[in-house]
């Protein structure tokens, strides 16, 4: 076998690719992150808010963008495409085409001078074509890498040889019209495909009149809602007026076999609800209507979100699939044509705007990539995977994640992405760390006894700053400030030669602190900090004064006031830098073992994934047997028996030399934190581990008191599966009742799995006896994603579906079920039946809260574990080093549990794989002499970093026991909330100390009074 290469190619820089890349890079593998567009971020960067929490999409995404672009182990290959893949698992050779950007990335500072001079206007893809960008451009404001790209298709110089404006104005000589596409060969051990989806193009569905300017896709509407969109968040119609009535039409390009797209797109019901909700937040007078077949609110918190939208926000949900949109030939007004539920009547209703909830479709580039990789796809172009190996493609060593596999939402995509990373990591575990380059810096110079010697660079940023702010005046002013020994002007402080110049200046003037007055620290601080380190300065002795984003760009008409403001900003930065302390990260040894609680499919998968990477792993299961909830079911949706999956998994768990299994055992005590947990088991044994995964699963609810449960012929789905296996279903007529004990006040959530489970079982019932009459009584059929196929098959089998509502439930009496069918104009039916099958919800198991207490992690109101962030951290807890997987988080199907379990293992291993744990320099510390042990810091810390410890105080007169707070440097994230809360100022928030911030406030104050003299 060829040598293992400790590198992974991740194709696709959306949220999936970014997550895979970060996990792998954190685990010590080198990553090539390949993205075909000029910037990473994918579709998530275009979203306004995310459901069900209405979080700002960019706020949660942009830190990940920055992290991926800065990570030492990630090489970002933007504007690049995979051309060829050869080799085998462990050692692939990949040819990547680096498309010509016509801009030298080393020289370009993204100063945007070229933007102003470029005469070409092109439809802006980021705003879904609803605004214009230039032919030379940054894809979106937060884009990384921050380098311009020339759109060769539209550039006048590249197409006609004329213009050349950008080259003329570029002061860094970054434009290179001669640049050519070039191929680059990279060597990797594994490949992850995460190139995502394409939004369905509704043009072919002519009946919806997408050509009408007020008929827009949901993605376009997302941009209309966004405050960084074409109309800064004010939704407008084509005539410029504000719409008063908006309709969303669901399943456009989904659940539509006629156009070869039979599957459900899984996300549209929720995004439409979210968009309607956000639109109503913008304009409380707005009327919103969502036309849907079934409202598929199946994920965690979705059902509650839907109920809120319906009952509190007042969004109108109409159950109907509109047949088209009519346009009034005179007024050009839009009217939605639909059939009224329960009747054959057709209605038409006028709307100002119609939003098409377009589905997710495999992109052409993804299909092409799959072909290059030689991996199997299904007939629709989704990558083929199996339920028990949801990230594994048909080619060993190549994994897939996110919407390239099937339509899914962001958290499932992120879990998938971490899961794929785990799989790649597993095969490359022995090559971990081999391709990682530790950066070395010159030794730091000792400045402990020195007075501050501050150097200040004031940047022109071409004309970005200098055209508004009088930079020479700022430089002269800065020279008068305390401790400033050198100040100078620079055209572009961030260009390569300027950075070298800063290093020289530090040496020449023996500077021990540096201020650069230029742009935002959010993009440029790490660059300048690095420069300081190269010159032997501690990186924390640096400060950026933002005189561009916060000054010259926003005060373009007021040069005089802007100059005064620039002086103030720089003065405040100088005051701060003078008081900054040397900070160091700390490296700590730790325990590299993992613990998994819960031996179901999720727990076993997680334990195996950790053990495969070479770490000592403990798996603790309280039942005498492994297998969990999965044991109670007998078949999978693909027809295989559950034992086909379970048996080899249990065998693998029992035979892995790194894995110790404890069945019939509970974890009773836990102390410590990430890297040094200690646990006590019920058998008395003590174990030590660095990271833990909670996978305690869920149970099928016993629906006592619902629909006659308890009678012999009223059973649950799991009991039905057992009977089906035994061949003991003796019934000519079967009624299934969905949501039996779920989606109500006691259990307000949707259990996600039971529509798919019910379809699987009705098909089995029909296959066993086609003559059998089967009725499914439901509220919504939520066979999301590819499982829609089962619903279709059930209908083809002649299964009868009847819809009921929460306030008019079916009644089960001896041998009959009575239902008022909403589909047939509230007709009352009495069904004679031999067997009633209840789809009872999944519920959190007994003891979930105790496990939560052990690790000080939260559970939600339904006692499912609560992850750190519902979108981007689906398997993390806020507590470092503790993760969750499977139905312990919320009910889910087996493939989803497996993907989440691998994800949790990946996250845990990104910690365990480190040689030492490195703390941040920016953390809070307690002065024990001043601490009074009040515990307020413990209360406000979101991470549990401070802890009150008993200490003995011994003085000459008296000795006594008292409590003092101690902050764990390995856990602290440096937010500083504890320092603000501490009543005795015993806590210092490093880098944001009270002294430092006070000095900045004082520096704000000492102006020369010029502000008041401006007439």
């Amino acid at each position: 076998m060829a040598e293992l290469v400790g590198a992974v190619a991740v194709a696709g820089g959306g949220i999936a690719g970014i997550q895979s890349a970060l996990d792998l890079a954190d685990s010590g593998l080198k990553v090539y992150l390949i993205e075909s567009s000029p910037a990473i971020g994918g579709v998530m960067a275009q979203l306004d808010k995310t459901f069900p929490t209405l979080d700002c999409s960019m706020c949660t995404l942009s830190p990940k963008l920055a992290e991926a672009s800065r990570h030492q182990n990630i090489e970002l290959l933007a504007y690049s495409e995979i051309k060829e893949i050869s080799g085998e698992a462990g050692n692939f050779e990949i040819t990547v085409t680096r498309k010509a950007t016509y801009v030298d990335p080393v020289k370009c500072t993204a100063c945007e001078l070229c933007l102003a001079k470029c005469p070409v206007k092109v439809l802006d893809e980021y705003n879904a074509g609803m605004s214009k960008r230039k032919a030379i451009y940054l894809p979106f404001p937060q884009a990384v890498s921050r380098v311009m790209t020339i759109d060769a298709e539209h550039c006048i110089y590249l197409t006609k040889g004329k213009c050349g404006n950008c080259k003329k104005v570029c002061e860094n000589d970054a434009i290179d019209y001669e640049m050519k596409d070039r191929d680059e060969v990279i060597n990797v051990g594994s490949v992850i495909l995460s190139t995502g989806f394409a939004p369905f193009d509704p043009t072919e569905l002519e009946q919806f009149h997408y050509e009408h300017l007020d008929v827009v896709t949901a993605l376009e509407f997302e941009r209309l809602l966004s405050s960084s969109g074409p109309y800064v968040g004010h939704v407008k119609m084509a005539n410029g007026e504000t719409p008063k009535k908006i309709a969303w039409l669901q399943c456009i390009g989904s659940r539509n076999p006629e156009i070869g797209r039979p599957n459900c797109s899984a996300v549209c019901c929720m995004y439409a609800t979210k968009e309607a909700m956000v639109a109503m937040e913008h304009d409380s007078e707005l009327e919103t209507t969502i036309f849907n077949i079934d409202l598929r609110a199946f994920g965690k918190g979705f059902e509650q979100f839907y109920q809120r939208a319906k009952n509190e926000t007042g969004i109108r949900f109409i159950r109907s699939r509109p047949s088209g949109v009519d346009i009034d030939p005179v007024t050009n007004r839009l009217s939605v044509r639909y059939e009224v539920e329960g009747s054959t009547e057709t209605a038409g209703e006028e709307f100002d705007m119609v939003i098409l909830s377009i589905g997710l479709t495999p992109s052409e580039s993804s299909k092409k990539l799959a072909e290059i990789a030689g991996i199997e796809m299904d007939e629709y172009g989704n990558i083929t995977t199996a339920i028990d190996a949801p990230m594994t493609t048909s080619v060993p060593g190549i994994f897939a994640c996110g919407t390239i596999v099937a339509p899914k939402d962001i958290p499932d995509t992120v879990a998938d992405a971490s899961g794929a990373a785990s799989k790649a990591h597993s095969i490359l575990a022995s090559a971990r760390g081999t391709l990682v380059i530790e950066r070395t810096y010159v030794p730091e110079k000792d400045i402990t006894d020195e007075e501050p010697r501050i150097g200040v660079v004031v940047c022109d940023c071409g004309i970005n700053i200098a055209s508004v702010v009088d930079v020479p005046a700022v430089v002269e002013y800065v020279k008068t400030l305390p401790y400033v020994v050198h100040a100078y002007e620079q055209t572009y402080a961030c260009s390569t030669d300027s950075l070298d110049n800063i290093k020289d200046v530090i040496k020449e003037h023996n500077l021990n602190r540096v201020v650069v007055a230029s742009c935002t620290p959010r993009t440029h601080e790490p660059l300048f900090q690095d420069t300081c380190r190269d010159a032997g300065l501690n990186p924390y002795l640096f400060e950026l004064a933002n005189i561009r984003e916060h000054c010259s760009w926003v005060h373009q008409q007021e040069p005089k006031l802007a100059t005064e403001k620039a002086k103030d900003i720089t003065r405040m930065s100088v005051a701060r830098v003078a008081l900054l302390d040397l900070l160091y990260t700390q490296k700590l040894d730790f325990n590299h073992g993992g613990l998994v609680i819960g031996g179901g499919v999720a727990g076993m998968t997680a334990a195996l994934d950790i053990a495969e990477k070479g770490f000592t792993t403990y798996l603790v299961e309280r039942e005498p047997e492994l297998g969990g909830l999965f044991r109670t079911f007998t078949r999978l949706q693909d027809g295989r028996t559950t034992t086909e999956i379970l048996d080899p998994m249990i065998a693998a768990v029992n035979s892995n030399p790194n894995l110790t299994v404890y069945t019939g055992t509970t974890l009773d005590e836990v102390e410590g934190a990430m890297g040094r947990f200690k646990g006590k088991l019920s058998n008395g044994e003590e174990i030590e581990f660095g990271s833990a995964i909670i996978a305690t699963g869920a149970n099928e609810f016993e629906p006592e008191g619902y629909f006659g449960y308890g009678a012999d012929n009223v059973i649950t789905q799991s009991a039905l599966e057992v009977k089906l296996d035994e061949g003991t279903v003796d019934a000519a007529s079967v009624v299934m009742i969905q949501c039996a004990g779920g989606r109500n006040d006691e259990r307000p959530y949707c259990s996600r799995v039971y529509c798919t489970t019910a379809m699987k079982n009705v098909i089995r019932l029909k296959e066993e006896d086609p003559e059998r009459n089967i009725y499914v009584l439901y509220r919504d059929i939520r066979t999301y994603g590819v499982w829609e196929e089962l619903y279709t098959r059930a209908r083809e089998f002649g299964v009868i579906f009847m819809r009921y509502t929460e306030d008019d439930e079916p009644v089960v009496a001896d041998g009959t079920v009575t239902i008022t069918d909403k589909l047939l104009n509230d007709t009352k039916f009495e069904i004679a039946t031999d067997l009633v099958v209840l789809s009872a919800p999944l519920v959190a198991p007994e003891g979930a809260e105790d496990t939560a207490m052990l690790f000080k992690v939260p559970v939600d109101s339904n006692k499912f574990f609560l992850e750190a962030h519902i979108k981007l951290r689906p398997v993390d807890f806020a507590t470092d080093g503790v993760f969750l997987a499977g139905s312990a988080q919320a009910p889910k199907l087996v493939d989803e549990s497996i993907s989440q379990a691998s994800a949790a293992a990946s996250r845990a291993c990104s910690i365990l794989a480190k040689e030492q744990l490195e703390t941040s320099g920016v953390i809070s510390v307690v002065d024990a002499d001043v601490c009074i042990g009040c515990g307020r810091c413990v209360e406000v810390c979101p991470y549990g970093a401070p802890e009150l410890k008993e200490v003995e105080i011994v003085t000459e007169e008296i000795s006594y026991m008292t409590r003092k707070s101690e902050i764990d440097p390995a856990i602290c994230k440096g937010c500083g909330s504890c320092a603000a809360e501490c009543p005795t100022s015993a806590i210092t928030a490093r880098h944001f100390t009270t002294k430092q911030i006070s000095a900045v406030i004082d520096a704000f104050a000492f102006t020369d009074g010029s502000i008041e003299e401006v007439a």
């Binding site: 979080d55 830190p63 405050s227 800064v232 403001k565 750190a868 440096g974 909330s977 320092a979």
Partner: protein, 136 residues
Amino acid sequence: MVVFEPKIVMFCCNWCSYAGADLVGVGRLQYPTNTRVIRVMCSSRIQPTFILQALKDGADGVLVTGCHIGDCHYIDGNVYTEERMKNVVDAMKLLGLEGRVHLEWVSASEGPKFRETVTEFVEQIRALGLSPLRAE
């Protein structure tokens, strides 16, 4: 003629409101020059004494900003900010400095909201006039 121009200290958290301020810049949206931003990692770092100090040092107003509730980079730091600032705003009433301290949530994508928040606060302080702590 001497025209009163409010002097305002503005606190921004690194992850949301500071990013929102950056976005206003990128979008070249214009707003008054009266604010001076102090960046902290989380709005929960802002202890009430900073606000008192700024007012004592001559600020006519103090504008505190952070992530929307639920968006906090540190999970729920801003919940404590909200609590602390409510107390400060209440105290301002007792001290005759009513309306000079204000808390507003601004996300990383709400450039226009950042501009509105600053513009409105500047106007509010302009209407209130010179801080009594600064008046001669």
